[in-house]
Every structure is written in C-alpha cells, then in structure tokens.
C-alpha cells in the first residue's frame, strides 16, 4: 500500500515536470520513463512515506486542500498587515505560549504547525504529541491569554481544517 502511495505521488510530480513534451501534453517516451523512474523511487521510499500515506490519494482530500487554500491565504494577508502595524508602532509583547491541541496523527500536527508558522506573528517552536500541545512563539500576546485553553486565539480556524485534512 505504501508503495502505491509513493509511486503515485512521484508519478504526479514527474508529469508536472515533463508537461509540454508533445504539444501541451506528454510524449509516450516521457510517460514510460516516468513509470520506470517512479517505480524505482516508489520502491526505494516505500518504507519512508508511511503506512497510512495512501489516505492522501483520496480525491475528497484534494478538494478539501483546495478549499483550505483561500482560508490560509486570507489568514496570511491579515496577519501580514498586522505584523506591518507592529513593525511601525513597536507595540509588541512577545513570548512562547503552550497551546493545547486536539489532534491525533503526525500529518495533522505538521499541517497545523506549518499553517501557524506561515501566518506571521506566530511561529511554532515545537510539537509534542505526547502532551498534545504545540509551543508557539507569539509576537503579541493579548493580556490574559498567556495560557490559552485551545488553539483558537493563536491560529483561528486552522486546527479544525488540519484535523479534517490529516485524518
């Protein structure tokens, strides 16, 4: 199963790299060479990509990922303007906060951590799945939120999205 996941993942990337070899599509040689190289890469990395990586080949996941893109992009735009404001005015209150999250697997932690890091003003320092917390460096901790109850004040709706994208 993990061989199939690694193979399909590599072959999609090969198709993206070689598009345009025959008009706007792919020549037969490129398609066959892609099959051979993806088989080699898939076989070599079948133990690395993880046993449950096959779930990301579900088309519903891709639709969800496309739907997540504008949410993430809008969060980045808002947070960039907020950081620009803090650069100009110098009103910062930095610190590292411990954020309890309700996630189960590695992929969810990775998606949420990267979303938090991508939105400026917050930066994931460490993820501890044993304690079910993230340690986040925050540029401006609002008064009284030094010990947040959940990830909502830090990351907005990202935890819900990460839970659905990675399950």
């Amino acid at each position: 199963m993990s061989f199939i996941a690694a193979f399909v993942w590599s072959y999609i990337f090969w198709l993206v790299l070689t598009v345009g070899s025959k008009g706007l599509l792919w020549s037969t040689q490129e398609l066959i060479a892609g099959l051979i190289f993806s088989t080699i890469v898939g076989y070599a990395t079948r133990g690395i990509i993880g046993d449950r990586a096959i779930r990301f080949l579900n088309p519903m996941k891709w639709i969800l990922a496309v739907a997540y893109t504008p949410v993430l992009f809008w969060g980045m735009v808002k947070a960039n303007f907020d950081v620009a404001y803090r650069v100009i005015t110098g009103k910062i209150r930095p610190g590292i906060v411990r954020v309890p999250v309700n996630l189960e697997n590695d992929a969810q932690y990775a998606i949420l951590s990267n979303s938090i890091t991508l939105t400026p003003g917050t930066l994931t320092v460490d993820a501890c799945p044993e304690e079910k917390v993230l340690y986040v460096h925050w540029i401006n901790i609002p008064k009284g939120l030094e010990w947040p109850e959940n990830s909502e004040p830090v990351s907005g709706p990202f935890e819900k999205w990460a839970r659905r994208l990675g399950e």
């Binding site: 040689q29 490129e30 690395i48 990509i49």
Partner: protein, 147 residues
C-alpha cells in the same frame, strides 16, 4: 532523541520521494536540459542526507546497506566504461549508438536521442548518489571524538 522531531520527520516523509523523482528527472534529461549525471545524483543524495538527518542515525543504519551501495557505485562506473567501449571498433568513446544505434538515435530533442549520453548520465547519477550517501553515512558513523 536521535531525530529531528515530528514536524521535520513528517515533512521529510512527503518530500523525500519528490526529491528523488526530481533528481531522476535531472539525470534522465541530462542531454536535453541543464543538469546531468552529477547534478542529478547530488540531488538524489540530498534526499538520502535528508533521510539521515530527519530520521536519525539509528534508522538510517537499518535502511542503508553498505554492501548494496558499494556494489551499485561499482556498477555505475562499469556501465559508464561499457558505454564508452561500445564503439571500440572505431575509437574509444565513439558514439556508435547515435550513428547506428537500435533505439537511442531518435529525433534530437526527444528523450531517446543522443546515443550513449542518457546511459552515461544514468551511470554517473547512480555512482554519485551512492558514493555521496556512503561518504556521508561513514562520516555520520564516525563518533569517537567524545569517548
């Protein structure tokens, strides 16, 4: 704690196949686009080093077989030499596959063209990948400076 933690490990799982297939693309298109055997081989070796760093030495020791990598490096060199000797009836490094070859003399610009160059690129890519990964594994295993 021998590895890089959960986030790096999870993203390495996703990116190592991508780096591998990108390196294979550079190697196999060495006669068409910038890059070639050494550049592509070094790219794939980057995937191996990412694996070593993200997953830690213990995991890499289980997965990276010294004899296999040593043998593959030798095979890469031998394939390069074999491709160079194919046209020995005319001259060393004579590109017989391009002048009379069965398949590798396609229209210039297509994947199966340029005679022995794709074979040599693949051989050099294999040699560079296995050589660099073996060298970095040997350096990582050299741990006697504190004991």
């Amino acid at each position: 704690m021998n590895d890089m933690g959960l986030i790096v490990r999870t993203l390495a799982r996703a990116t190592i196949p991508l780096i591998g297939i990108f390196g294979a693309y550079i190697v196999s298109h060495g006669h068409l686009t910038p890059g070639g055997g050494f550049q592509g081989g070094a790219t794939i070796a980057g995937a191996g080093i990412l694996f070593l760093i993200a997953f830690g030495l213990e995991e890499a020791k289980k997965r990276i077989n010294k004899n296999l990598y040593s043998a593959l490096e030798g095979i890469g060199g031998l394939v390069f030499l074999g491709a160079a000797m194919l046209g020995l009836s005319v001259a060393f490094f004579y590109n017989l596959l391009w002048h009379k070859g069965p398949i590798l003399n396609g229209h210039p610009g297509s994947l199966l063209s340029a005679g022995y160059l794709p074979i040599m690129n693949l051989a050099v890519g294999l040699k560079v990948f296995t050589g660099l990964v073996s060298a970095l594994m040997a350096i990582a295993l050299y741990r006697r400076w504190q004991k």
